[in-house]
C-alpha cells in the first residue's frame, strides 16, 4: 500500500522565473531565465541576481517584501485548491520557511540606533507583525497550528515536511506549506563573504561553475487529507508521499563530504513513501552551483539512483531563493510530475568528472509516478520531499 494519503490540492509560486505557475512553466518550456544586477537596493557588490520583476499590487505589503511574495503564492495555491479568503471554517495549519523575514536587519534602523541611541519604531513594528506563518494565519483567519521555520536553505522543504506530520497526526485537515524569501542586502554580503557567490550566471553541476546567484520568491502547496479533499469535492492527481530530514552533524556552512546526511534524508523520504529508489522519475536537486554542494549532492544522487537518473537544478532560472527554495522547488516538481516533462537544467554545459551523473540539457519527458526534491542547508540539515502522482480511478 503506497502512502498517498496526503493530497496536494493547490500550487502557487512566484520567482524570477514567473509570477505564477503557468507563466513559470511557459518560461521553463522556452528556456527563459531572467537575471541581472541588483535593482532592489543600493549595493557595491557586482553579483548578478534573480529578482522578481513584478509583484501584483494586491499582494504588496509596505516594506514587507517577503510577506508580499508569500501572499502572492498563497493566493494562487488557494485558488488552485478551490479555497477562498476566509479559512475560518476549516482546520488549517500554516507552515512557512524563511530566512530574511525572521530578522530585524534593517540597516537604516540599526545605523540610527547605534549612532544616536534612538531610532523610529516603524521597522520594529513591521518586524513584530511580520512573522510569516502568523501573518498568513491572521490574514486567512485560520485556527490551527502555525509554524515559521528558519532552517536556512532547507526551510521551505522542512516546512512542507512539518505540515505533512501535522496532517498525518490529525492536527489539521488542510495545510498551507512552503517558503518565502526576498532578495536582501544582508545575505548578499554574507554569502559574498563566504566566497560562494558567482560573478556570472550560475551553472549548477557544470565543470566550470563558479558559485551561486541569489534570488527571491515564494512557493506554497495546499496539502490536504483525503477526507477533507473528498468532502470539498476535490480529486487532485498529486500527493505528498514522503519527507526525510537528517543532520550532517559536521560543519556550520560546509556539507559533509560523504553526503551521509543527505543520503539519510532521501532514504527516509523514500521509506516514508513506501517506494524504492528506481521508482523515482526525476530529481529536482538543490544544485546551487557551488563547488561543494554540487559535488556532494551529485555523488549522493549517483550512488542512490545511478547515472541514468533524470535530474535538474532549477536555480539557473530562479537563483538560490534561500528559505523559499524548498517550497518553490516542490511546486516546480509537482507541476512537472503532473505535466510529464522537466525543463533543461539552465546553465549546465560541461560534465564535471567528479560528479557521476549529469543534469538534463533539454526538455525531457518523464514517465512514472514519483519526483524527489532535495534541499541542503547551512548548519548541515538536509531535507528530501517525495511527491507522487495518484492513479486516477
Amino acid at each position: 500500500m503506497k502512502n498517498k494519503s496526503v493530497l496536494i490540492t493547490g500550487l502557487g509560486v512566484i520567482s524570477a522565473a514567473g509570477s505564477n505557475l503557468p507563466e513559470t512553466m511557459e518560461n521553463f518550456r522556452r528556456g527563459l531565465a531572467h537575471s541581472g544586477p541588483v535593482t532592489l537596493f543600493e549595493t557595491t557588490l557586482p553579483y548578478p541576481v534573480f529578482e522578481v520583476r513584478k509583484i501584483p499590487a494586491s499582494f504588496l505589503q509596505e516594506s514587507q517584501r517577503t510577506i508580499s511574495l508569500a501572499l502572492c503564492a498563497v493566493a494562487e495555491a488557494l485558488h488552485d485548491a478551490g479555497l477562498g479568503d476566509d479559512l475560518s471554517g476549516y482546520r488549517v495549519g500554516i507552515a512557512m520557511g524563511t530566512t530574511v523575514a525572521c530578522q530585524l536587519n534593517d540597516l537604516e534602523f540599526y545605523k540610527s540606533c547605534r549612532e544616536s541611541g534612538t531610532a523610529p519604531m516603524h521597522p520594529v513594528d513591521l518586524y513584530l507583525k511580520g512573522n510569516i506563518a502568523e501573518f498568513i494565519s491572521r490574514r486567512y483567519k485560520t485556527r490551527g497550528p502555525s509554524l515559521t521555520l528558519v532552517n536556512a536553505c532547507s526551510s521551505g522543504a522542512d516546512a512542507i515536511g512539518a505540515a505533512l506530520s501535522w496532517l498525518k497526526n490529525g492536527l489539521c485537515d488542510i495545510a498551507l506549506a512552503g517558503g518565502a524569501d526576498e532578495l536582501n542586502r544582508v545575505p548578499l554580503c554574507g554569502f559574498g563573504s563566504l566566497g560562494i557567490v558567482s560573478h556570472e550566471i550560475c551553472m549548477p553541476f557544470d565543470r566550470d561553475r563558479t558559485g551561486l546567484n541569489l534570488g527571491e520568491g515564494a512557493g506554497v502547496l495546499v496539502l490536504e487529507t483525503e477526507n477533507s479533499a473528498e468532502e470539498r469535492g476535490m480529486a487532485p492527481d498529486l500527493c505528498l508521499t514522503g519527507y526525510g530530514s537528517a543532520s550532517d552533524s559536521y560543519h556550520l556552512t560546509a556539507p559533509r563530504p560523504d553526503g551521509a546526511g543527505l543520503e539519510a534524508s532521501i532514504r527516509r523520504a523514500l521509506a516514508d513513501s513506501d517506494i524504492q529508489s528506481d521508482e523515482i522519475s526525476f530529481v529536482n536537486a538543490h544544485g546551487t552551483a557551488t563547488q561543494d554542494n554540487d559535488v556532494v549532492e551529485g555523488n549522493v544522487l549517483g550512488r542512490l539512483f545511478g547515472s541514468g537518473l533524470s535530474m535538474l537544478s532549477t536555480k539557473g532560472y530562479t537563483g538560490h531563493t534561500l528559505g523559499a527554495a524548498g517550497g518553490v522547488e516542490a511546486v516546480f516538481s509537482a507541476a512537472a510530475l503532473r505535466e510529464g516533462w522537466i525543463p533543461s537544467s539552465a546553465g549546465f554545459r560541461n560534465r564535471d568528472d567528479r560528479i557521476p551523473l549529469m543534469p538534463v540539457r533539454e526538455i525531457t519527458n518523464i514517465a512514472g509516478d514519483y519526483a524527489l526534491s532535495t534541499s541542503l542547508a547551512f548548519g548541515g540539515n538536509n531535507a528530501a520531499l517525495v511527491i507522487g502522482r495518484r492513479q486516477r480511478a
Partner: protein
C-alpha cells in the same frame, strides 16, 4: 511524550539544581547592564554571566559560536546528560530549537561589519553565526546527533510550536528522541525596543499578578528537554498535551496553573479570563526575566515541581486581584500542571504536564 531530561542556563547559573535553588530562594534583584551614553537611566536585566559558560570541554568545540549558541549547547548537553540517556541512538535523535529573536545580537554585529568595513569586507564567521539555525547546528555537531535538526521562530509561541512538532515526530517514529528547547540572548537594540514600547520595572521586579500595568525586566538563557516515548520508567514527567490557538485550552483543569506573565504585553488582563479561583496560580518569570520564549523556563519549573511534588512560592507575591496564588513553598500533590501563555493578539497556548 515524556520528558527524560532537562537542561537550563539562566541568570543564576547552569543546571536544574541551580534552578531549583532559585525556586526555593525566591526573587533577586537583576543586574545593571551597560547602556549607551544617550540613555541616562540604569538598565536592568537578568543576564547569563560569562563564567556560567565555562565548561571547557564543550566550549572548545564551539569556540567560534556566539553566546546564543553556547547557551543552547550547554542546556541541550545537560538535558541529555541528566536523562541517563547518554547511550541513546543519536542517528534517531532530532533537535528542535525554538527562538523568538534568534541570533539578533550577532545579526547586529554583522550590520556593524557592513557599516564599518563595507559590503565586501564583512566577516564570514559573523555571518555564519547570524543565521537563525546556527545554535541547533552547533548542538547537533557537538552531541553527534544525526536526526532532523530544525529551528522554529515565533514571538510568543515558538516553544509550543516546537513541542507540537516533536509530538508528531515521535508518534510517526521519525525520531526516537528529540531535544527541544529555546535559546534567547539579551542585546542592546532589544533593550532599546523594550524601553520604547514597554515599561521597565522601576525596582527590577516583574509583577506577574498585576496584569495592567505590566513591568518587564529582560532576561536571557536557554532551556532544553529530552523528549521520547521510550524509557517511560525514567521519565521526569509527561507532556500530556500542547494546545495553541485552538479550542479546549480550559477544558482540562490542573492542580496548578503557571502563567507566563512577564511584562512583555502592555496589558496581560487576558490571563484573568482563564484562571479559576479553585486552582492555585504561580508565576516564576521574576526569577529568569522577561523572555518571549520564556514558557520553556516555566515548563522547567513545572518539571521540577512534578518530580519533587513541591509547589514553589511565586517569587513576587503582589496580588492586587486577590487571586489564589501559590505564596509559600510547600509539598503538594500535583498530578497535572497547566502552563499558560498569551500572545499580543490575545491567542492562548497551553502546555499540560502530567506526573509520571
Amino acid at each position: 511524550m515524556n520528558i527524560l531530561g532537562t537542561g537550563i542556563v539562566f541568570t543564576r547559573g547552569q543546571g536544574m539544581d541551580s534552578f531549583e535553588r532559585a525556586l526555593q530562594e525566591g526573587w533577586r534583584s537583576p543586574g545593571i547592564v551597560p547602556s549607551p551614553p544617550s540613555i541616562h537611566e540604569e538598565r536592568r536585566a537578568y543576564l547569563v554571566e560569562h563564567r556560567t559558560l565555562s565548561d571547557r570541554e564543550l566550549m572548545k568545540k564551539v569556540r567560534r559560536a556566539d553566546k546564543l549558541s553556547k547557551m543552547a549547547v550547554i542546556a541541550a548537553s545537560e538535558a541529555l546528560r541528566n536523562s541517563t540517556g547518554e547511550d541513546i541512538n543519536r542517528k534517531k535523535t532530532g533537535i528542535i530549537a525554538a527562538t523568538a529573536l534568534g541570533a539578533h545580537v550577532t545579526t547586529f554585529d554583522f550590520l556593524d561589519n557592513i557599516l564599518e568595513y563595507g559590503e565586501a569586507s564583512v566577516s564570514p564567521t559573523t555571518f555564519s553565526n547570524s543565521v537563525h539555525n546556527a545554535a541547533a547546528s552547533y548542538i547537533s555537531s557537538v552531541l553527534g546527533t544525526e536526526g532532523p535538526t530544525l529551528t522554529v521562530t515565533d514571538f510568543f509561541f515558538s516553544f509550543h510550536n516546537a513541542l507540537q512538532l516533536a509530538q508528531s515526530w515521535l508518534l510517526e517514529k521519525r525520531c526516537d528522541y528529540i531535544l527541544a528547547g529555546v535559546t534567547e540572548q539579551y542585546g542592546s537594540v532589544q533593550a532599546y525596543v523594550h524601553d520604547t514600547k514597554l515599561t521597565a520595572a522601576p525596582d527590577g521586579r516583574i509583577r506577574p499578578f498585576n496584569f495592567n500595568p505590566t513591568f518587564q525586566v529582560p532576561g536571557e538563557g536557554s532551556v532544553f528537554f529530552l523528549l521520547s516515548h521510550k524509557e517511560a520508567d525514567k521519565a521526569l514527567c509527561e507532556v500530556h498535551d500542547v494546545l495553541v490557538n485552538t479550542d479546549g485550552c480550559d477544558v482540562l483543569r490542573g492542580d496548578l496553573d503557571v502563567i507566563d506573565t512577564d511584562g512583555l504585553l502592555a496589558d496581560e488582563s487576558h490571563y484573568l479570563q482563564t484562571l479559576s479561583g479553585e486552582v492555585p496560580v504561580a508565576s516564576y518569570t521574576p526569577l529568569f526575566g522577561s523572555i518571549m520564549s520564556g514558557s520553556a523556563f516555566t515548563c522547567a519549573a513545572g518539571v521540577r515541581m512534578l518530580e519533587k511534588q513541591m509547589i514553589y512560592a511565586s517569587p513576587v507575591k503582589e496580588n492586587p486581584h486577590g487571586l489564589n496564588i501559590a505564596a509559600e513553598t510547600r509539598p503538594g500533590v500535583i498530578e497535572l500542571l497547566r502552563c499558560i501563555r498569551y500572545n499580543c493578539y490575545g491567542n492562548k497556548a497551553v502546555i499540560y504536564l502530567r506526573k509520571k
